[in-house]
């Protein structure tokens, strides 16, 4: 498949090479990571200094000019809506699934490319188009969507009170993004099923591939469902149907707004696993690499992740305890949700057991990975309070929920993707990423994000409702102003330090030390190749002899690892 006479256009823009497409996804995601992060800082400003002008260094002197630099309520609604939407669908998803799914899957299973390279390219450009549609909503006179990332009707309905067509573009962008996701999912699933190298059985695949593969299966099942729901929402807005409109807003008997919530969460709950499964996989692998031990309970971890996928599809009701569902149904959803903590705890203990008595190497990817272990533990444990009906009715829609899901979705995913970027950087760009900068970036990010998200839970426990424009309008929330200020300043520190990451990323790409073939001593297949990797990857299809992490095998003498493509001496 490798062609030598590729023009700039076919090599870097409309490439069908999975490695190039992976990098394109990562760049797109990094752009949106910064954009979405910036929106959150503006939100934090309003919460700490309600209705005070945004300082020049945060508004860049160009935003909110007409309101005298003050964020008005409508703008605030747009901020949290677009922050959530962008971070989930246009930042984390492209980087973890589009980026690393593309870059890593074929390399780790010994394939020359994806099963459908052209579909892969179309998937990226569909995603790109969806980003353009989403950003175009900023050009509308009344601004982008403002009904929250969940976009519940009637708020998101045309008669719901939010002016303008931002919501229409939002819905359209999500449908397009879903189409791109579906194309990707087909590719990843079939690639894993069909293009594994000889000897690469399912239980010899790295757990990263397991995570990405399960994620794709979940995408294949649940994205079509939300797509159907979004199409109905779009029809409500464009053709005047009343699927999700009821009561006084409807012209006749009307439809059912709760139906949207069901459809949304049938997808929405699995979506959190769609996002986090790749990170679980990456963490499971990286812990083994940097502890120089086989991943403890490798097979059990893979089976637990699969079990969670199945369970996650029948627990969506835990987002709807306060919608007046029957107590019996609520208890059923609570029971099923709490069941998920069993497989989750098992693989979490596997992580700890992998570390136990390991020969730990605190390289940059490892410190980020250790960070994930910490924040995921907090995120997972605080989830129990939201899963339990009695405590959730109090905590529902408070900052506690926001803090909780930022531990799992923001902290875990962002640290996970930093781990992945630092780990595969040498293979992607042939250079090492600077360690000192990586260490500083990690510690500042880690400390500030923990402060921010933990104290959000404190706010919520004290009764601070999420999505409040100005909490100081309520007497009982006034004592929390100081804590809100602290959170905001830590969030700003967190934002600023990301500039160091992007500097390190770009600087190391061009000026970093030239990397050796296998800087981490990892045994998975991608590390048997020299950078820059050619279109088509392996000169010769590798044969796989062992599981992905047979580190420190007793029969090894000179080194503590062999690539999966070589038999372990004395065992073949």
């Amino acid at each position: 498949m490798s062609t030598n006479n590729e023009s700039f256009l076919t090599k870097y823009i409309f490439s069908t090479d999975h490695k190039v497409i992976g990098k394109q996804f990562i760049w797109l995601g990094i752009f949106f990571l910064f954009f979405g992060g910036y929106l959150s800082l503006l939100m934090r400003w309003q919460l700490a200094y309600p209705e005070q002008a945004v300082p020049w260094w945060l508004s860049w002197g160009i935003f909110f000019k007409d309101a005298g630099g003050i964020i008005d309520p409508d703008t605030y609604n747009q901020l949290f809506t677009m922050h959530g939407t962008i971070m989930i669908f246009w930042a984390v998803t492209p980087i973890l699934i589009g980026g690393f799914g593309n870059f890593v899957i074929p390399l780790q299973i010994g394939a020359p490319d994806m099963a459908f390279p052209r579909l892969n390219m179309i998937s990226f450009w569909t995603w790109f188009l969806s980003s353009v549609v989403l950003l175009a909503s900023y050009l509308l006179p009344q601004g982008p969507a403002a009904a929250g990332w969940t976009s519940y009707p009637p708020l998101s309905s045309p008669m719901g009170g939010i002016p303008g067509e931002g919501q229409t573009l939002w819905t359209l962008a999500l449908v397009l993004m879903g189409t791109g996701t579906i194309m990707g999912a087909i590719n990843y699933i079939i690639t894993v099923v069909r293009l594994r190298a000889p000897g690469m059985t399912y239980f010899r695949m790295p757990l990263t591939v397991w995570g990405l593969w399960l994620t794709s299966i979940m995408n294949a099942v649940f994205v079509p469902v939300i797509a159907a729901g979004l199409i109905l929402l779009l029809l409500d807005r464009v053709l005047g149907t009343e699927f999700f409109v009821a009561g006084g807003l409807a012209s006749g008997p009307g439809g059912d707004p709760l139906l949207y919530q069901h459809v949304f969460w049938i997808f929405g709950h699995p979506e959190v696993y769609i996002l986090i499964l790749p990170v679980w996989g990456i963490v499971s692998d990286l812990l083994a690499v940097f502890a120089r031990k086989p991943a403890f309970g490798y097979k059990v971890t893979a089976i637990c992740m699969s079990t969670i996928c199945v369970l996650s599809s029948i627990v969506w009701g835990h987002h709807m305890y306060t919608t007046g569902m029957s107590p019996l149904l609520g208890k059923a959803f609570m029971f099923l949700t709490l069941l998920i903590s069993i497989p989750s705890s098992i693989f979490f203990l596997n992580w700890l057991a992998t570390l136990w008595k390991g020969n730990l190497h605190f390289e940059p990817p490892m410190i980020y990975t250790m960070g994930v272990v910490w924040v995921f533990a907090i995120g997972g444990l605080t989830g129990l309070y939201n899963a339990t009906v009695t405590s959730d009715i109090y905590l529902h829609d408070t900052m506690f929920v926001v803090g909780h899901f930022h531990f799992t979705l923001a902290a875990t995913l962002v640290l996970g993707l930093f781990a992945a970027i630092h780990y595969w950087f040498p293979k992607m760009f042939g250079r090492e990423i600077n360690r000192t900068m990586a260490n500083i970036h990690f510690w500042v990010t880690f400390v500030s994000m923990n402060f921010v998200f933990f104290n959000m839970m404190v706010l919520g426990y004290a009764g601070h409702h999420r999505r409040l424009y100005n909490p100081m309008e309520f007497d009982f929330l006034k004592p929390l102003l100081g804590l809100n200020e602290w959170i905001t300043w830590f969030a700003i520190i967190n934002g600023v330090i990301q500039l160091l990451f992007i500097f390190n990323f770009v600087w190391s790409m061009f000026k970093g030390k030239v990397a050796v073939r296998n800087p981490w001593g990892a045994s998975t297949l991608e590390w048997t190749l020299d950078a820059p990797l050619p279109h088509g990857n392996f000169a010769q299809t590798p044969t796989v002899y062992s599981r992905p992490h047979e580190y420190s095998h007793p029969s090894l003498t000179d080194t503590d690892w062999v690539p999966q493509s070589e038999p372990i001496p004395g065992t073949a």
């Binding site: 087909i186 069909r194 729901g229 008997p253």
Partner: protein, 209 residues
């Protein structure tokens, strides 16, 4: 491109492309499932729902259904032809199938236009069914919303199928397929049969029940 197969493959000899299409069909089926179940849930919450045939023209659409089933048959004939190496037969039957699809869309559009334009008789029927207006529009109650959403979504699939067949007719006319090389026609067939099958479901749920 085809890699040496992995040791165990539960999907036998199916080509990679065919597996991809099967997976797509599964996902598309879930979208239709979501729409049909959503429609059923809304209907269950309604006090009244029009009787079959009260507004929709069952006999016309029954003919349309028959037409679409015939195109499934011609699609089988197209595959049959090329499996015997008959390139002319392939082009002929693909053209039949495509024309059938276009005809189906024509009738569906005619039906839509008739509803949207409105008439005395339609108004009479709408009132009998407990709906308002002289036109039957997407905004005519939940009934109209469900009808247009589901038949429209299916219509888009027929349209995609027609374009897909047209795209395969080009290489077919250039003789790109043969008795040993017809995988892409088989994949096309899978999609077309799926669209037909879904229509039978849609016809039953929307028109007959």
């Amino acid at each position: 491109m085809q890699q040496a197969a992995a040791i165990s493959d539960p999907f036998g000899k199916a080509t990679t492309g065919k597996l991809g299409m099967w997976l797509f069909i599964l996902m598309d089926g879930l979208s239709f499932g979501g729409l049909l179940i959503g429609g059923a849930a809304l209907r269950a919450g309604m006090d009244s729902w029009p009787e079959p045939g009260q507004i929709l023209n069952i006999s016309l659409t029954a003919f349309n259904t028959f037409l679409l089933i015939c195109t499934s048959f011609t699609m089988v004939m197209a595959l049959n032809s090329i499996q015997k190496g008959d390139q002319k037969g392939l082009v002929k039957f693909l053209t039949f199938t495509m024309s059938g699809g276009i005809f189906f869309l024509g009738i569906q559009i005619w039906e839509y236009v008739h509803f949207i334009a409105g008439s005395e008789e339609l108004m009479h029927n709408l009132v009998l069914a407990g709906l308002e207006g002289s036109k039957f529009l997407p905004s005519t109650g939940i009934y109209g919303a469900v009808f247009y959403a589901i038949t429209g979504f299916h219509g888009l699939h027929v349209l995609s199928g027609v374009i897909y067949i047209a795209a395969m007719l080009v290489p077919a006319k250039q003789g790109a397929f043969s008795a040993t090389n017809y995988d892409r026609i088989e994949i096309l067939g899978l999609f077309w049969h799926f669209v037909d099958l879904i229509w039978i479901l849609v016809f039953t749920v929307i028109y007959l029940i």
